[in-house]
């Protein structure tokens, strides 16, 4: 058997942090870096996002664990939005964040003027080819988050030609349009999709009436989800990401739950580490990771454009969500540990004293148990934890604050 030589290059795993608790989940479960937004300038207006105090706390938490923090400023800002931007940039600079993600040239100019923060070109700019990359390099960006239409092979060519870092999405929801080139929400609902108001019109069901010049009767298809993209999943392509030396692998999902942030980070962390240290083991373990990813609520998966141009199979045609016969449900977060006594858990979904639940640990298999003795926050014995309550469950030695609990549901 050939000796396995550890690989020197390892891409950054970049996970979403839609809130402080999601930042804690992502970094605790293996993200090398997280991306987040302040309360303005990002593209997820409906997300919780970070106040300045939370941002400071998040940066401190992440940096203490060796994780980087990138802040998104990737809205296409209007003139009136620009007024408050310099102060925010200076604040980010004082916090020592590790980079900003921007696509608007006005924002990029402002960042360069008011700080020396590294600038990552957002996927919103749809940078897809070597020449585009060279132009943006001249404009001062330090990393290119390529458009989702770019393949791994494109990314390698761009990196080789420009010498600057490249980042690709590896997992999560995808726009169907060239990013930044969809204004359906703007014109139909008065919500600026490029300032955080996307109404997800591409996920709606449509009837399609085909124009047929040869035949006066138009052909119609009802209830189609013709513009809804499947979710991206690139775990099988990790060897190609290594070969192409893609600097950063990004997971989409700032709006998703802490369980999502934790699990996706953990799975991809393991996959990257295994391939880096023992490439021959990667294929053996791939099936397990796939099974785990299948149990996280998602649309059908597709490799998108990572290996080949997205085909018909990349469209989530049939329904908004695949039929889920089994899935993981988010039970709650460990908020506090009283050693040898109890874990204080914030219940995000109900669970009862008898049903099996799982503590997702940072490494290895989850710990399965039944919280036979559930108590209210004040220590009164109860049969069932209600959603939104704080409860005590029996102490588990391996538990840590911020860890997530899940339930395996079969329907």
């Amino acid at each position: 058997m050939a000796k396995q030589v550890p690989l020197m290059f390892k891409p950054e795993l970049l996970s979403p942090a839609g809130s402080l608790e999601k930042l804690i989940a992502s970094t605790s479960y293996g993200a090398d870096a997280v991306y987040l937004a302040g309360q303005k300038f990002g593209l997820r207006t409906a997300a919780e996002n970070f106040t300045l105090d939370e941002l400071e706390e998040g940066v401190q938490f992440a940096h203490a664990r060796g994780s980087k923090v990138y802040t998104v400023l990737n809205s296409f800002l209007h003139d009136e939005d620009m007024l408050e931007l310099p102060e925010f940039i200076r604040h980010l600079s004082r916090l020592n964040i590790d980079g900003v993600i921007a696509s608007d040239l006005g924002v990029i100019t402002s960042v360069a003027k008011h700080s020396s923060l590294p600038i990552h070109l957002s996927t919103q700019a749809s940078c897809l080819n070597v020449d585009s990359a060279l132009y943006w390099k001249d404009l001062g960006v330090h990393r290119l988050i390529l458009g989702r239409e770019a393949s791994i092979s494109d990314a390698k060519k761009i990196k080789d030609a420009t010498g600057i870092e490249v980042e690709l999405f590896i997992h999560g929801s995808m726009c169907m349009a060239y990013s930044g080139n969809c204004t359906i929400s703007n014109f139909t609902q008065g919500r600026d999709s490029n300032r955080g108001g996307c109404a997800q019109s591409c996920r709606f069901s449509y009837s399609l009436e085909y124009k047929n010049e040869a035949d006066s009767e138009a052909e119609t298809f009802s209830n189609t989800f013709f513009m809804s993209s499947k979710d991206l999943m690139g775990i099988e392509l990790i060897p190609q990401f290594f070969d192409a030396q893609i600097d950063s692998l990004k997971i989409e999902g700032r709006m998703r739950s802490p369980l999502y942030a934790a699990m996706i980070s953990k799975i991809y962390r393991e996959a990257i580490d295994v391939y880096a240290s023992n490439p021959n083991d990667f294929q053996n373990l791939l099936k397990n990771w796939r099974q785990e990813l299948d149990l996280i609520p998602h649309r059908e998966y597709s490799p998108g454009n990572l290996a080949h141009p997205a085909s018909e199979l990349s469209v989530n045609k049939q329904s908004k969500k695949p039929l889920e016969t089994e899935k993981y449900e988010f039970i709650g977060l460990i908020k506090k540990i009283v050693p040898d006594q109890y874990l204080l858990v914030e219940a995000r979904n109900p669970f009862s004293a008898e049903e099996p639940i799982e503590l997702v640990t940072q490494k290895g298999s989850p710990i399965q148990f039944a919280a036979k003795n559930i108590q209210s926050s004040t220590g009164v014995k109860i049969d069932r934890a209600k959603q939104g309550t704080l409860v005590r469950i029996p102490f588990i030695a391996q538990a840590q604050t911020g860890q997530v609990l899940r339930k395996h549901i079969h329907t």
Binding site: C182, F187, G196, L208, T378, G388
Partner: protein, 400 residues
């Protein structure tokens, strides 16, 4: 105001003659989103455009992955660029190629996607330098903003004056994917002439009548109505707009052209008549909209996407109510780095429903019911029950 429009055949080019049109957009099917000219016809039409006293503009407005860019560059090498007065690009890669490879060819830069701040538009202009002939700005700009930009830019500005509003562009072939008998993707010979059209209606809500066009570059979706500033020509003239674009490609014919160019001519001679403009709009084959020309308020709704009652203000924020045990207690999570929760101190409780209640904290206990004087960050503590307070209520220090 100069007028620009496009021509997809020699016949269409002849129709543009004599209507005051200065620039004619010519689209080679490999480089242009909607142009369908082959190389021979492109060259011929460029010559004809000049002969007719107009300026031929090479339209290179597709977005390109790296392979498509390589192919585009090969195609460009076959074009006699000396025939063209300018090149029109959106993809920053196309801009880069135009600057490096054709430094003598003026550039018309499409900034219609985003670019809603003057600082950014100026930076684009500066990055192109003297080669930049014109910028094409977004149809989402309000009229006042457009006027401000025109005044403050050193480069002439063009906007769409009449034509379809592109609201979605993907390289995927969504109409063929849906209708199997359109599966042309494996048929190499049909690629360049492929064209499918459809209307899309959302099954629920008010998204009706979107026009869809699929060609070799992917799928394009247009608003149900055309964009129209024809009844605002006097304002456009007053703000010194350099060029107005008339785009009739989705109409199937150029029949609206004589009337609209006549109206523009009148505006240029300070003889604009709104009554005539209204008549034109009434007779125009499509419904029209001015969209955001009056005002762009596409961020107003954002406040409704988050619950403003429970948005944190770091300066006075203390924590939030996690749990309510009716008639017994409130469970509070202290989250602030700056402020502790203290006994005998007044706090404002702001519920998600919008109620605000001032509460003097008379007693604080830890989870084991031990009384404490104050609670610090990350503590979970209990205070006496308060009516009408619900979970997620935000607690802030009352300001005297």
């Amino acid at each position: 105001m100069k007028i620009t429009s496009q021509a997809n055949s020699l016949h269409e080019l002849q129709l543009l003659k004599g209507h005051g049109i200065t620039d004619v957009l010519l689209g080679l099917r490999e480089l242009s989103r909607f142009g369908n000219l082959d190389l021979r016809l492109l060259n011929e039409m460029a010559i004809q455009t000049r002969n007719l006293g107009m300026r031929p503009i090479l339209e290179w407005d597709v977005l390109m992955t790296n392979d498509r860019m390589i192919h585009a560059k090969k195609t460009l090498a076959l074009i006699d660029l000396g025939l063209f007065s300018a090149i029109r690009v959106q993809d920053s890669g196309a801009l880069h190629v135009s600057k490096k490879m054709f430094p003598d060819l003026p550039i018309q830069l499409i900034l219609e996607t985003g670019n809603h701040n003057l600082e950014g538009v100026k930076r684009w202009c500066d990055s192109v330098g003297n080669q930049l002939e014109r910028v094409i700005l977004s149809n989402e700009l309000a009229g006042t903003t457009l006027a401000h930009y025109i005044k403050n830019l050193s480069v002439p500005v063009e906007v769409l004056g009449l034509g379809p509003i592109l609201i979605f562009y993907t390289p995927r072939y969504l109409l063929s994917f849906q209708k199997k008998d359109l599966n042309w993707l494996s048929q190499e010979t049909s690629v360049n002439t492929h064209r499918v059209e459809a209307l899309a209606h959302a099954e629920e809500g008010f998204h009706k009548g979107f026009r869809l066009l699929e060609n070799q570059h992917g799928t394009f979706m247009f608003h149900a109505k055309d964009y129209c500033l024809i009844d605002r020509l006097d304002q456009l003239f007053e703000m010194n707009l350099d060029t107005i674009r008339i785009d009739l490609k989705m109409n199937g014919d150029q029949s609206a052209l004589p009337a609209v160019t006549k109206l523009i001519d009148k505006a240029n001679r300070l003889q604009f008549e709104s009554l005539l403009a209204d008549r034109f709009i009434a007779s125009y084959p499509n419904k029209v909209t001015r969209c955001f020309f009056q005002k762009n308020a596409t961020d107003v709704i954002f406040k409704k996407l988050t619950n403003e009652h429970i948005v944190r203000n770091d300066d006075h924020f203390v924590g939030e109510v996690v749990e309510v045990a009716k008639d017994r207690y409130l469970l509070i999570h202290v989250q602030s780095n700056r402020l502790n929760l203290k006994r005998e101190q007044s706090y404002s409780f702001s519920t998600p429903e919008g109620k605000v209640k001032e509460v003097l904290i008379s007693k604080i206990s830890d989870l084991d019911r031990n009384e404490i004087m104050e609670a610090v960050k990350n503590d979970f503590v209990i205070i006496p029950y308060q009516k009408s307070i619900t979970p997620k209520t935000i607690i802030t220090l009352t300001l005297n």
